[in-house]
Amino acid sequence: MTTAPVPALRRRPILADNPSVLWALLVLAIVTLGVTVLAEGAGAGVISTSFVKTLGKTLCLCLAAVAMDVVWGYCGILSLGHMAFFGIGGYAVGQWLMTARTYDIVAQSLAGQPLPPTPRELDQAVATQIFGVVGSDHFPWIWAFSHSLPLQLLMVVLVPGLLAGVFGWLAFRSRVTGVYLSILTQGMTLALSLWLFQNDSGLRGNNGLSGLQNIPGLEGWGQDRISIAFFWASALALGLGYLLFAWLTSGRRGSVIRAIRDDEARVRFLGYGVEGTKLLVFTLTAVVAAIAGALYYPQAGIINPGEVAPLASIYLAVWVAIGGRGRLYGAALGAALVSLMSSWFTGGGVPDIPLGIYTVQWTDWWTVLLGLAFVAVTLLAPKGLGGLFDLMPRAPSRRQGDWGPDDGAWRNEEGEP
């Protein structure tokens, strides 16, 4: 039997390999510029500051959803804990925001006194201000770095990275997979949120961190300009994150990641390091989710343990599933669409439907609609909204050479990206 010579596979630039990345970045750029021009802070004033914030928050959620898509849609790990990492990022940056701002306020109020305040007096006044609500008057150990922005930003990356790394290492090395792994990540999220709910966790328990929308050092700016700045930062983060994950999931590494999703044992037998790859994906996505959270909460203004609860992480999975797993733009689309629609429906933006004896109020029925829509998407359209793009006419495949040696395989179907 003779085999035709297989042309050498040449690695092509990822953008050429994934034209969707360019399109997605273009759409993002257009949206960003459009919002900026229309916003109160910078231009026409058609879009209110609060809506700019909503859009900025949505971009952060999109980034988290893209990360979720990589870990679930590409690597097959249904993590029910990525919103916990998102929350950790928010808490980390919130610690600095709250400390720095309270220092400013306290320093101002102490300036009227006859003697200049000593550092000890200042610390104590700040601690009383922040922790009085949980009956404490000193900084817990967990706030050790809260006076320094760079250190705290380092925490945004380090804490979720370490947590995800250790958790992932423990879970993957004992070959916990599938549903077991999902439940375990949910357990981790629940443990974290229960711990945060305690007053003696040092993070103000049930009260969470508040006043995060006031950025120390930018007092002169006004919320309209700050909102635009954060919107830009969120858009930039989403763009960079998108590129990072497009790169991660392209080429041979991307193939290994997808293969792990489809048949982990087979990849292991082929000699690839399954555990290392999974750990890399899990940790990296956790860190990106944390960065998204660090950008989200200064726009939201408040963070409390409820945001870290298991339900939030499941919703993240819902967004990705509705948007379409296994394609990055699908996840971003799903997150944007569902979270915006959610705030539109629950915010009373949709008129009620009178049915004679009963009036459907969307504030009550939106969750029902979402839940059923979610079931419908899972059942009827497993590709999600992103699947709509497959209906568009596309250029013939530029794949070179044969699909593979096995005549009996579904090679055409499996060869599709």
Binding site: L170, S174, T367, V368
Partner: protein, 645 residues
């Protein structure tokens, strides 16, 4: 008996001298009509000593403000209001003796303090009262507010007591009072030692009262002091600052100048932007402030600062100890031994109590998780809406209860009805959703989650957000109480029995019926089972229905002791998942082991850290994550080929 004889003797004596109660009262009418807390004791003693049988009645009615004094002759009567005046009754015979017009009599209104003294004088009569309820009331009064003078009457009343329950209670109280107030040290120590076997809260309170102590400081421990234990300054028990404050309060050391005092002194000395020679702007640190204070202190007559070294020296040259209020070391020693023995007993009973709690929690988790485990075993599917089936069962119980007012009947109706409702819901969900997602377990998980949030919101829309009660029948109210420490509510016993029942039922179905055989076959190898003529779809549908039905029953059981809300399912779902993960899937014994482990663990952690249930749950989840490391497939893992599926 003795007191009764004495009373009879006194009665004879009084009759012989023909002294009536009225005579006695008239001996010092001021003391009756205008008593004060200090003087009333004397007249009470006199009344009690007279031994007249009508004295207790008089005291009670005096206490109840029912005694009046006629202005014209100063005689005392019992009076009840009628029209503008009073109907008068004789104090001895209680017979009606006439009427009085308005303002002809004064109502006696002893103040609360006096009434209290009268009450304690009454107790000795009530202790021997023929009415058992009044004897018990008197004992309650003693237990609530023990006093030395109650000891003798209580002892005297022991002999005439014929009710065994009241007698036991009297003996216990006598022991408690003796331990605290007995004058003779030997007898007191004996009473204290007897308390060592008593695990009630009151006994321990008495022992703790005897052992009450306070921290003291002196140059050296005086010889007559009864030292509980020595204190070390700088320890957790006695921080350095607190120790120095004790020295200051005892006059053994000069007070420290606080940072606030320094600041105030500096502010007071502020002149022309300077304090002494130091410009104000430089005073932004503790060191600078101290230096400035030291500079101005001598001139302004301010106390010098006490340095840390001086504090250490003062602490080092004095002795600190915890000093017993009770000066007799033999008594405190006996009390310490008795308390240690009581505490040991109490902790043994507490351990038993925790074990009961753990078993009851384990039965709840078992009921909540077993359905989940069966469906997971057969279909490899985690049903996120399982918690909502629990909620549906509980709401079914609530609805039945609103229709059938009799709680027993409604419970009997609710259990099968809840099973039927959730069985139907489970089968419907299996047919409509899960069957179409075969072999895609993660997507099933998410689809069922969608159903879960929809069901939860629908329940919220129908029943509102407030908690609905599911009242248990009265025969399930109350608790089985062994003693003060050990006890368990009947409802929890009922849930335990229910869990046992379902354990037995499931074992029977799985091991002894055709359906069970087929279920086990599908669990182990669906393909092979199908080849053998078993319809896996039918089995999947039935097991899903069965699992959901049990969730409904669990919902009724949980609703009986917790409130029924639309979110109750999500409170149990994560624990149920954990139970399944820890126990291992597809096996009833595995779920039982998982539920027991989680129940015991949660209660055990709560025992070590009783103030904090949240922390207990956190630690438990961390433990489970660690546990999975060692047994990734649960305690009872499937072996062989089935494990890989």
């Amino acid at each position: 008996m003795r007191i009764v004889l004495a009373l009879i003797a006194a009665l004879w004596a009084s009759m012989a001298s023909a002294q009536t109660l009225q005579d006695l009262l008239q001996a010092d009418p001021e003391a009756i009509s205008d008593p004060s807390r200090r003087t009333v004791g004397e007249v009470l003693d006199r009344l009690v000593a007279s031994g007249l049988p009508e004295v207790p009645t008089f005291l009670e009615r005096w206490q109840a403000k029912e005694v009046v004094q006629r202005q014209s002759d100063g005689l005392f009567f019992y009076g009840t209001k009628e029209g503008g005046g009073h109907v008068l009754f004789d104090v001895s015979s209680g017979e009606e003796v006439g009427h009085s017009g308005p303002r002809e009599v004064d109502e006696l209104r002893p103040n609360a303090g006096v009434r209290g003294v009268i009450g304690s004088a009454l107790i000795q009569f009530q202790l021997s009262d023929p009415d058992i309820a009044r004897r018990q009331a008197a004992l309650d009064a003693i237990a609530k507010d023990p006093a030395p003078e109650q000891l003798e009457p209580l002892r005297a009343s022991l002999e005439g007591e014929d009710d065994p329950g009241v007698l036991a209670r009297k003996e216990r109280l006598e022991n408690l009072l003796a331990a605290r107030f007995e004058a003779d040290p030997e007898a007191r120590i004996a009473a204290i030692e007897a308390l060592g076997s008593d695990i009630t809260v009151e006994a321990r309170a008495v022992l703790n009262q005897i052992l009450s102590s306070e921290p003291r400081a002196a140059d050296a421990i005086p010889a007559e002091a009864n030292v509980a234990w020595k204190l070390t300054p700088g320890s957790d028990e006695l921080p350095r600052e607190a120790a120095y404050v004790m020295l200051v309060e005892a006059g053994l050391a000069p007070p420290r100048v606080t940072e606030n005092a320094i600041r105030d002194a500096l502010v007071a000395a502020l002149a022309g932007g300077k304090v002494g020679d130091a410009p104000v702007a430089t005073l932004g640190s503790d060191e600078a402030r101290h230096a400035a204070y030291d500079a101005i202190a001598p001139a302004r007559g301010l106390p010098p600062r006490i340095s840390e070294e001086e504090v250490d020296a003062a602490l080092g040259s004095h002795a600190f100890w915890q000093d017993y209020a009770e000066k007799d070391a033999a008594i405190t020693g006996a009390a310490e031994r008795a308390l240690a023995s009581a505490v040991t007993r109490v902790s043994l009973y507490q351990a038993a109590d925790i074990a009961l709690d753990a078993i009851s929690l384990a039965s709840i988790y078992f009921l909540a998780a077993i359905g989940l485990a069966i469906t997971f075993g057969v279909m490899g599917v985690i049903n996120m809406a399982h918690g909502e089936f629990i909620m549906m069962g509980a709401y079914t119980g609530y609805v039945v209860q609103t229709l059938v007012p009799d709680y027993t009947l409604s419970l009997i109706l609710a259990l099968p009805l809840a099973f039927a409702v959730t069985f139907a819901a489970g089968v419907a969900m299996e047919r409509l959703v899960i069957r179409h997602l075969a072999h895609r377990p993660l997507e099933t998980l998410l689809a069922t989650f969608g159903i879960s949030i929809a069901l939860q919101q629908i329940a919220k829309n129908i029943f509102g957000t407030q908690a609905r009660p599911l009242t248990s029948p009265s025969w399930l109210d109350g608790a089985w109480i062994v003693n003060d420490v050990l006890g368990i509510a009947y409802i929890r016993i009922a849930i335990f029995v229910l869990a046992l029942l379902f354990l037995g039922l499931l074992l029977f179905i799985l091991n002894r019926t055709r359906l069970g055989l087929e279920v086990r076959a599908v669990t182990q190898n669906p393909g092979m089972a199908a080849s053998m003529g078993i319809d896996p779809d039918r089995i999947a549908m039935l097991t899903f229905g069965l699992g959901s039905g049990i969730a409904g029953i669990a919902g009724v059981a949980i609703g009986l002791y917790a409130k029924v809300t639309s979110e109750m399912g999500s409170d149990y779902i994560v624990q149920s998942f954990m139970t399944v993960v820890v126990g291992g899937v597809g096996n009833v014994w595995g779920t039982l082991a998982g539920a027991s482990l989680i129940g015991i663990l949660q209660k055990g952690i709560e025992w070590f850290n009783p103030s904090n249930t949240l922390a207990a749950q956190t630690y438990m989840i961390l433990f489970i994550i660690a546990f999975i490391q060692f047994r990734p497939r649960g305690i009872v893992a499937m072996k062989g080929r089935a494990a890989g599926a």
